[in-house]
Amino acid sequence: MKRTIIATVHNTSGVMNRITGLFARRNFNIESITVGLTENPSISRMTFVVNVDDERGLDQVIKQLNKQVDVLKVRDITDEAIIARELALIKVVATPETRGEISTLVEPFRASIVDVGRESVTIQVTGDQQKIEAMIDLLKPYGIKEMARTGVTAFKRGTKKSVLDSPKYSIIS
């Protein structure tokens, strides 16, 4: 099962190394890691998307992370009300004829075309993983030349999920 875990860590040199090393040597299956500063510059926040077999596997991931001296707090937020976002840059084959079509396609995703070349366009899309996947699926038929995804970063919502965030793209896929 896929779980989203966040950890706040002491921003020491090598902390990233400690965490990724831990995942590798404990045989934890990790899909993505993102890391960045928080409002406190001495503390970073990491977001992991991990694949675990069962509850016990998940329990171990959390406990082993917690065991690290530089890790301040660990939390599995999968089942909580969260905001999870990922950014993807997708370069697709585009001729002058298909450009307009692509442009209409990306609009409901609130994605934007950030670069236009002679034979391609680059699309930037932000959202949760489902949304990114949906965008990729729709663009595949045009021919994806290159793609870069950042991995998920997430945190808990202040209030319950707001209506504003309802997935507008779902009607297309």
Binding site: V9, G21, K67
Partner: protein, 575 residues
């Protein structure tokens, strides 16, 4: 010649809040942490620290290989309960202690390892004797540091001692660049440790303790598995008191030997791959298993799918990550073993009614004791262990290396007291036993220290005989000489159709002459009728002795759980 075990450590405390060099801070910090002995080996990057060691007069034992230094520090830590301190230089000095660090990590021994490092400005340039020790030791330390700024040094040392010795103990590496050790700064040590990410839980949750109490009352076949966690927590007295109150049988792990008196009527013996039949049967048939400070290592559990199939499992451990890691646990108790036992005693629960269970265990014990076939011509290693046990009245500090001799020592030496046993359990490190005995003797200068070694393992760190010679350390080296890598040979016999690939020595050094080269008494014995007498002489001798005991070459360790098998599938339980 008198032994030089108890030299006063020069511990001149300088005032705080004054300016001093990094190396001076280090020695001052060590003094404040009550370190009275360092095991180490000098070299370029650590020279400023060695200069300070020279000037301060702090006690330093010069090993002849860094691996010897770190295993000595481990032996010292295991027997004394204090952190072992090891100082080495950068690059090769530091990489030579890797095995010992990994060993201490898996066996939870508190160590402070100070490695020299090249100067900060050349770090990352492949400078002379540069190795990324922080990177290399990340997975095998409880925590590690590289000191980049002299201002951080006092805090780092303080944190290092705190981390190494609290919670589940473990090794901490401090990588100290040469320029930082030479730089000056203000030394302030009297500050609280501030580690928000490191807060070990000592006091268990009362509700969980109550659940253990209730489970005991309900159980018909309870058993306690006592591991090294009891020793680290210094909780042997509490374990004994709890067991006497509740009358629950106790099984030990290899590393937990001594946490519960082996001669106690409720002591069922060591469990595991070469554990006693009854101990393994106790684990297999119990309906309640209370694990106190053991980590359910695979050599203990055998096949996990067959482990304790009928048991409700309670697990008391200070490291939450151990609970549920290998074995599904019904009553997790996070906390210090001593605290947990105190709370359990205070609960004063209704003991389990398990007379039948205990009778069954005693019956098994009578029916399936440890066994070996005696021989008039050749020394049987098991018999040697029995004699060592008898001649030391069971009161020696025993260290072993890894292999058959280790298992025989564990089986036949009955430890009644804690901290009399140092062996490499988790990592199974050959070369550990002899230097560990040296460290153990420094921890217990007045007790006999017997180092039971294989002829192969001894050769991995034999150079440390220099320390025995130099300081007249009365360690008794007992080489259980079967002219082979005994345990490897046994596996090849049993599982590889007797294809003895590189496990039988075509030649051997003359161990007696080796001892003589170091000016140590070296005696050979191969006659079973003489072995007791020779051992008595060695034990009575005022100084180090090496005994080359020629034992039966093809003896196997039994009983045994073959790899991949469960406790109920033990082999070799009867002659």
């Amino acid at each position: 010649m008198s032994t030089k075990l108890q030299e006063d450590s020069g511990r001149e405390l300088k005032k705080e809040n004054q300016e001093m060099t990094g190396s001076s801070m280090l020695i001052q910090a060590l003094a404040r942490e009550n370190v009275d002995i360092i095991f180490g080996y000098p070299g370029g990057a650590i020279l400023p620290t060695y200069d300070e060691i020279y000037r301060s007069g702090i006690r330093h034992i010069l090993a002849r290989h860094e691996q010897g230094a770190i295993h000595a520090a481990e032996g010292y830590a295991r027997v004394s309960g204090k952190p072992g301190v090891c100082v080495v230089t950068s690059g090769p000095g530091a990489t030579n202690v890797i095995t010992g660090i990994a060993d201490a990590m898996i066996d939870s021994l508190p160590l402070i390892v100070i490695t020299g490092q090249v100067a900060t400005k050349v770090i990352g340039t492949d400078a002379f004797q540069e190795a990324d020790i922080v990177g290399i030791t990340m997975p095998i330390t409880k925590h590690n540091y590289q000191v980049r700024d002299i201002e951080d040094l006092p805090r780092i040392i303080k944190e290092a001692f705190h981390i190494a010795t609290t919670g589940r103990p473990g090794p901490v590496v401090i990588d100290l660049p040469k320029d930082v050790s030479e730089a000056t700064g203000i030394f302030t040590y009297d500050q609280p440790v501030d580690l928000p990410g490191y807060q070990p839980t000592y006091t268990p949750n009362k509700l969980q303790i109550r659940k253990v109490r209730e489970a005991v009352t309900k159980a018909k076949k309870p058993v306690i598995l006592a591991g090294a966690g009891v020793l680290h927590a210094k909780g042997s007295d509490e374990l004994l008191a709890y067991v006497e109150q509740q009358q629950i049988p106790v099984v030990n792990t290899l590393l937990g030997l001594g946490s519960f008196p082996a001669s106690h009527p409720l002591a069922i013996g060591m469990a595991g791959m070469h554990g006693e039949y009854t101990a393994n049967m106790a684990l297999h048939h119990c309906d309640l298993l209370i694990n106190i400070g053991a980590r359910f290592d695979d050599r203990l559990t055998g096949a996990l799918s067959d482990f304790a199939p009928h048991a409700k499992v309670a697990h008391i451990d200070i490291d939450p990550a151990e609970i549920g890691k290998n074995v599904e646990t019904h009553i997790p108790v996070v906390g210090d073993a001593k605290e947990a036992l105190k709370m359990l005693i205070a609960e004063n629960g209704k003991p389990s009614e398990c007379t039948e269970w205990k009778e069954q265990l005693y019956e098994w014990k009578k029916e399936y004791p440890l066994w070996y076939e005696k021989d008039d011509e050749v020394i049987k290693p098991q018999q040697l262990m029995e004699i060592i046990y008898e001649e030391t009245n069971g009161e020696a500090v025993v260290t072993t290396d890894v292999g058959q001799h280790q298992m025989w020592a564990a089986q036949y030496y009955k430890f009644d007291k804690p901290n009399h046993w140092a062996t490499s359990g988790g990592l199974g490190t050959m070369g550990f036993g002899f230097p560990a005995a040296i460290g153990a003797q420094f921890a217990e200068p007045d007790k006999p220290v017997v180092s039971i070694l294989g002829d192969a393992g001894f050769q991995m760190t034999a150079q440390e005989m220099s320390i025995l010679q130099e300081l007249n350390i009365p360690v008794k080296i007992i080489i259980v000489n079967n002219s082979s890598l005994g345990m490897v040979r046994q596996w090849q016999e049993l599982f590889y159709d007797e294809r003895y690939s590189h496990s039988i020595f075509p030649i051997q050094p003359d161990f007696v002459k080796m001892a003589e080269a170091y000016n140590i008494q070296g005696w050979k014995v191969d006659d079973p009728k003489k072995v007791r007498e020779v051992l008595q002489e060695a034990l009575a001798y005022d100084g180090p002795v090496l005994l080359d005991c020629r034992v039966a070459k093809e003896e196997n360790v039994y009983p045994m759980i073959a790899p991949g098998k469960g406790h109920h599938e033990m082999e070799g339980i009867k002659p």
